[in-house]
């Protein structure tokens, strides 16, 4: 049923630290690797070695230049499903293929019910859903629902593939509905923000803004180099001869 649960027991989601993300794309490839064999498999690639490469990805990393009066900086920005509390992608679904789980708040697609009308992708402001033209159904991030509850994996591996892969620990996973959880504490401490709050989708995921510039950083330009004086004497004569 595409009506939303009144409340969910947990609000599982991701917190992404824009201060430490280096834009290495490890989360992107780890996501693709796991999910092309996972719950929403396959993540089809169209013409992968040709001139017009296309395909389904759940996680894409953009790079932006953020310029303020304090100067400019590069911000790498991973973009994936935010598992919203008010996901219009679910309510617009005419078939019941899209649903939000009452237990943990994860937004999923039942591929056997999807008719591929694409309306959910129009309803998502964040571009989280990508249509698989090969299979004819919509696909999206599952928050690695087939990892996080997977008893066959070691406990430390029961996190989404993108979180497990991140070399700078810029990605965090947990229950954002529990104010005492480590991830909620992190959001509290770092002033984590929701994306496009004005649209009212109430995303679960939070982004930690880049830290303020440190006073310790070099603020002075390096001293200018001294002008080169023409060398006199024997060495100067050799220099002039060799320069000719």
């Amino acid at each position: 049923m595409t009506c939303l649960p009144a409340r969910t027991e947990k609000k599982l989601g991701l917190v992404i630290d824009l201060d430490t993300c280096v834009g290495c794309q490890a989360c992107v490839t780890a996501c693709k690797e796991w999910n092309t064999g996972g719950h929403m498999a396959p993540l089809t690639d169209i013409d992968p070695y040709g001139g017009h490469v296309d395909g389904v990805w759940f996680n894409r990393v953009h790079s932006y230049e953020h310029t303020t009066e304090l100067g400019g900086r590069t911000v790498n920005f991973p973009r994936s499903c935010l598992h919203c509390e008010q996901p219009a992608c679910v309510t617009v679904c005419p078939t019941g293929a899209s649903y939000k789980r009452a237990s943990d708040g994860i937004v999923l697609v039942d591929e056997d019910k999807c008719i591929g009308c694409k309306l959910c992708s129009w309803a998502c402001p964040y571009g989280a859903r990508e249509f698989d033209t090969d299979v004819g159904v919509m696909k999206k991030c599952t928050l690695c629902v087939d990892r996080i509850y997977n008893d066959n994996l070691a406990v430390e591996d029961r996190v989404p593939a993108c979180v497990a892969a991140c070399p700078t620990s810029a990605r965090h996973f947990g229950d954002l509905g529990d104010p005492a959880s480590a991830i909620s504490q992190l959001v509290e401490e770092r002033g984590g923000v929701a994306l496009m709050p004005e649209l009212g989708y109430k995303p679960t995921n939070r982004y930690l803004p880049p830290r303020a510039r440190s006073e310790r950083a070099a603020k002075v330009d390096a001293p200018a180099l001294e002008p080169i004086r023409a060398e006199g004497g024997f060495l100067g004569w050799i220099d002039r001869m060799l320069s000719n």
């Binding site: 920005f77 617009v92 005419p94 994306l195 496009m196």
Partner: protein, 312 residues
């Protein structure tokens, strides 16, 4: 938004079909239009044909059309599902009315009731179509108070211009229907101009700053996650040059509003068959113009996901 031919045709054809059905159901059922076999046969055939062709065309847009029946299930939350239910449900009274009015040559009693229920179903279906678009928050040009009335006005406009062409063609021209078609065309024109004016001045609160959560200053895209266009850009990143959009707006206005308005005004003074020819021309020009208008409606709509790709 990418103007998919199937969806552009669907909204234009079903709008005209439901408009015509509502008029025939009301006027025919209540006896204002005589129960003439060929008039009814062509009129109802045109209305139901446009609706059926539009609905079939919209299933061509689906990735898995064989599962389309599932779309009737989620009417409690989804406007698309409600549209599916309403469109199919409307066929029942429409067919009953068609049998009574066209084949049995009757009006009044149960035929009138079926005609009025079919007209109500047509209005409800057009409303659900409008709400599919009006409810999409990421597309500011659609998520506005102009969208739902536009669907209703355009359905009434194309439906009444078709009804007038039909009546004029059968030498049954009615001044009231002709006047209604002319006024609806002028109303449609005014509403479209007001919508364009509103959209051109729209200040969208969603910016690259709110999209990325980066506060203050400017956020400029320096690198995309991919080198080729992906699904998001193909489906929602459609762009149209300002000069092309200005030209297409003029073409749409000439074909959909100005031309038909002039032709319909002439019909008041033209004898048969010239009046009939002008009425049919007005209907054909208007449908062609509405296809251009609907193409622009998609092409000029901007989705918030394009902000992530540095497009504003």
């Amino acid at each position: 938004m990418h103007p998919a031919v199937s969806v552009v045709f669907f909204t234009t054809a079903t709008g005209a079909g439901y408009g015509l059905l509502a008029l025939l159901g009301t006027l025919g059922g209540l006896g204002y239009i005589p129960a003439d076999f060929w008039l009814g046969f062509i009129g109802m055939g045109l209305a139901l044909g446009l609706i059926a062709a539009g609905l079939l065309s919209s299933t061509g847009h689906l990735g898995r059309p064989e599962r389309a029946w599932r779309a009737f299930s989620q009417w409690r939350s989804s406007w698309l599902s409600r549209e599916g239910v309403a469109s199919v449900a409307t066929f029942v009274p429409a067919c009953m009315f068609g049998i009574g009015w066209v084949f049995l040559g009757r009006n009044g009693s149960w035929v009138a009731a079926a005609g009025l229920v079919a007209a109500a179903g047509a209005v409800v279906t057009v409303c659900t179509t409008g709400m599919i678009y009006a409810s999409l928050k990421p597309i500011a040009q659609w998520h506005s108070r102009y969208t739902l009335p536009a669907y209703l006005i355009f359905a009434a406009m194309t439906g009444s211009v078709l009804a007038n062409a039909l009546l004029q063609g059968f030498k049954l021209g009615s001044t009231a229907v002709l006047l209604a078609a002319l006024l609806a065309t002028l109303a449609g024109w005014a509403w479209k101009l007001a919508t364009w004016r509103y959209n051109d001045r729209l200040e969208i609160p969603t910016t690259p700053n709110t999209a990325t959560g980066l506060v203050g200053g400017t956020v400029r895209s320096i690198e995309w996650p991919h080198t080729e266009e992906n699904y998001l850009l193909k489906e929602m990143g459609f762009r149209i040059a300002r000069k092309h959009s200005a030209k297409l707006r003029r073409i749409a206005q000439a074909l959909a509003f100005a031309g038909p308005a002039i032709l319909l005004a002439m019909v008041f003074f033209l004898p048969w068959p010239l009046g009939a020819i002008a009425s049919v021309l007005a209907a054909v020009a208007q449908l062609a113009g509405m296809l251009v208008e609907r193409w622009l409606y998609f092409a000029e709509a901007k989705h918030t996901v394009t902000l992530y790709y540095g497009r504003q």
